[in-house]
Amino acid sequence: MGTSDRLDRIREQASVGERDAREPTVLAAVVLAISLLLLSPIVWVLIHAGEMQTGRLVELVVSETTRSVTVNTMILISAVTASSVAIGVPLAILTVQTDLPFKRFWTVTGALPLVVPSYIGAFAFVSAFGPRGQLANLLAPLGIQQLPTIYGLHGTVLVLTLFTYPYVFLTTRASLISFDGTAVEAARTLNHTRWQAFKRVTFPQIAPGITAGALLVALYTLSDFGTPAIMRYDVFTRMIFVEEQARNLDAAAVLSLLLLVLAMVILLFESRINAGRDGAYVSSGDRNAGRIRLGYWKLPALGFCATIATLCLALPVGILTLWLVRSAEAAPAGFSFTLSHVANSVGLAAAAAGLCVVVALPIAYLSARGGTKLSLLPERVSYVGYAVPGVVIGLSLIYLALRFVPFLYQSVIVLVFAYVVRFLPQAVGTTESSILQVDPSYIEAARSLGFGPIRSFRLVVLPLVAPGIAAGAALVFLTTMKELPATLMLRPTGFETIVTYIWLVRGAAYQGQAAIPALILVGVSGLSMLVILRQEGR
């Protein structure tokens, strides 16, 4: 409520202040052109599907492949979402509402798996549990010859759950923290057992939080490419990649279209939930009231927390360290990790971050200060990056480039553009929130002191919003560093980055070589978490 009030007020002030109608028009035109460019990947999928013969389209949609990929994806999403709730909610309750020892420690370890890119987690799990993996080697002397295979549905579910459940954990925690514990005590004095009180009082109030987290998990699972690819489970993202590699353009486009539809459905649910949370119950009551004493459940509870932390953190880090120790053996030519991989990654990420800032600034400014419905549109459009999985952006841009700008095909420019489409929302979000914090009358004051509009902006607004812009740039930089599918599909031949290097050695027997790049990426993810936390703490 408070925020939207302030927003309205600021917009009002801004539109009153806008006597000069010309600059907004120019600004709007520029922003509109950018939005159209941003939408081009989606437009391509639609156009391509539209151009297909109806018979061919129907044939592809109802084909056996499409059917099984859809079923696989649905099963994967349901399983990952359900298991994430099964881990995230109890963990949140344990760390907020009970007398669990070392609660702060478990809170941190509970959230930390987010810093491990899921494909690196998958890689580590394959290395540990796969055939002739580390664990298999360890167990061999004990006479255990074969571990159940990690590949397929259960491996994919395991890895995705372990590295995405923190979304549910964090959103559930947030709603539990704002939940008034005396309500539980009230229920208990009204003759409800602890469990009945949870069902009738606690659960209905934290359900929106759980759902919000679950939808984030679902969206991530739907659009994740690396994990199912490494775990060899055929879902939309993997099949789109496979069809593209096989030059089955029609099939890839149809799968992309279906994937987009699914993503839209999830986002639609999410926006509903978030709208419903507007009037969320904010209570001032005593949070410690109704705290659960674990008693003899303390040990099992600690065991649960420790198991999760071991699987999500100790295991991948342990595997990476093991690789690091063994990486002494030199890799054959073409398989060695060099500084050029890092330089390429950093160069791409810097270009993407720079471009995102330049593009985000006018969009965010128009959205924060424009006042009209139309001026909000580009900001909305910029959010397509959230909805469109990297594989789809990669696929569209390959064919868009081939068709309209063939001289750019397989160039770094197209790749950077893909990053901008995907990660612009991060830059727009941080920039817009910092612009909203600047009183519009500052500009009016500057202009009344004789400065032109652009100079006023540069002298007064820019210094104030610079931290927000920098945070946005840092986020884009860091997320670009670890982006997998679009990088794989769009990079120029022979152009290798940290991510593509990991992908290269993934199947080969030179895993030891992946230790350093993988650790770099974990560090990079950790940094981006820090940036987000600092932004939220402001």
Binding site: D180, T182, A186, L190, N191, H192, P204
Partner: protein, 268 residues
């Protein structure tokens, strides 16, 4: 009202019809109850008893153990030692005695911040403790209570749409609905502004007397204790310093502590 003399007030109360069955029956008794949190002793060897339909107020400075006493009666805290008996049933006792959980005691509680369930309407809040009744009976009981607390017009509203005084009346109705043996009120008026506080005191006293419920209220406000209670227990350092008729306690303090604690009020 607070300025009227005690006999006048008692006359007012007697015009209210009550549902008390046997005013001589002891509904609640506490014997030698102590509660410590590690080294800190919150309540020490406390004994008191409350009769059917009586309204007892525990009055004392903050930290004197009055809220802990209330929470032990409700079963939200477990005493370190001592025996509590409610309506003839021992709910907690020394050694291997039983410990009845809050849901196993017929005790209602009105919390300081009311703790209304924000996701439920007024009707649903009041019906919350009536799960064992069938729907028709429950609806009837809710209607009775809405009438008692004078909120018939607000049945379908959500708690957030109510004023502070209305929220308190809902909380009162909710805890009275399952007909508890004892009703506990934890600083019931502290969240109301001064004008409303005086008004609600009268209102709550009227409601409690009409319901005929045995009630224990906790406060640090002398005026409040004087105006609503049948008996007052002044608490200090986890124990009862003096207990008796409000006017008597105020006029004849038995100890220096009681005198100085009540004396402050006169200067305020």
């Amino acid at each position: 009202m607070a300025n009227k003399d005690p006999s006048q007030r008692i006359a007012d109360f007697e015009t209210v019809t009550t549902a008390v069955e046997d005013p001589e029956r002891t509904v609640l008794s506490m014997e030698g109850v102590s509660k410590d949190y590690g080294r800190e002793l919150a309540v020490e060897d406390l004994s008191l008893s409350v009769k059917d339909g009586e309204l007892l107020t525990l009055l004392g400075p903050s930290g004197c153990g009055k809220t802990t006493t209330l929470r032990m009666i409700a079963g939200l805290e477990e005493p370190s030692s001592g025996t509590i008996t409610i309506a003839g049933e021992t709910v907690t006792a020394d050694g291997d005695g039983p410990f009845r959980k809050p849901e196993e005691r017929d005790v209602g509680i009105v919390f300081q911040d009311y703790a209304l369930f924000p996701h439920l309407s007024v009707h649903e809040n009041i019906a919350f403790g009536l799960e064992e009744m069938d729907d028709v009976d429950a609806d009837e009981r809710v209607a009775e209570l809405l009438e008692l607390v004078d909120l018939e017009a607000h049945e379908e509203k959500m708690p957030s749409q109510l004023s502070g005084g209305q929220q308190q009346r809902v909380a009162l109705a909710r805890s009275l609905a399952p007909e508890p043996d004892v009703l506990l009120l934890d600083e019931p008026f502290s969240n109301l502004d001064v004008r409303l506080r005086v008004e609600m005191r009268e209102e709550v006293r009227r409601i409690l007397k009409r319901a005929g419920v045995t009630a224990i209220s906790v406060t640090h406000d002398q005026e409040e204790a004087l105006s609503i209670s049948d008996r007052v227990a002044i608490m200090n350092n986890g124990n009862v310093a003096q207990i008796g008729d409000p006017a008597e306690v105020f006029e004849n303090p038995e100890s220096r502590f009681v005198a100085s604690f009540l004396g402050q009020a006169r200067f305020l």
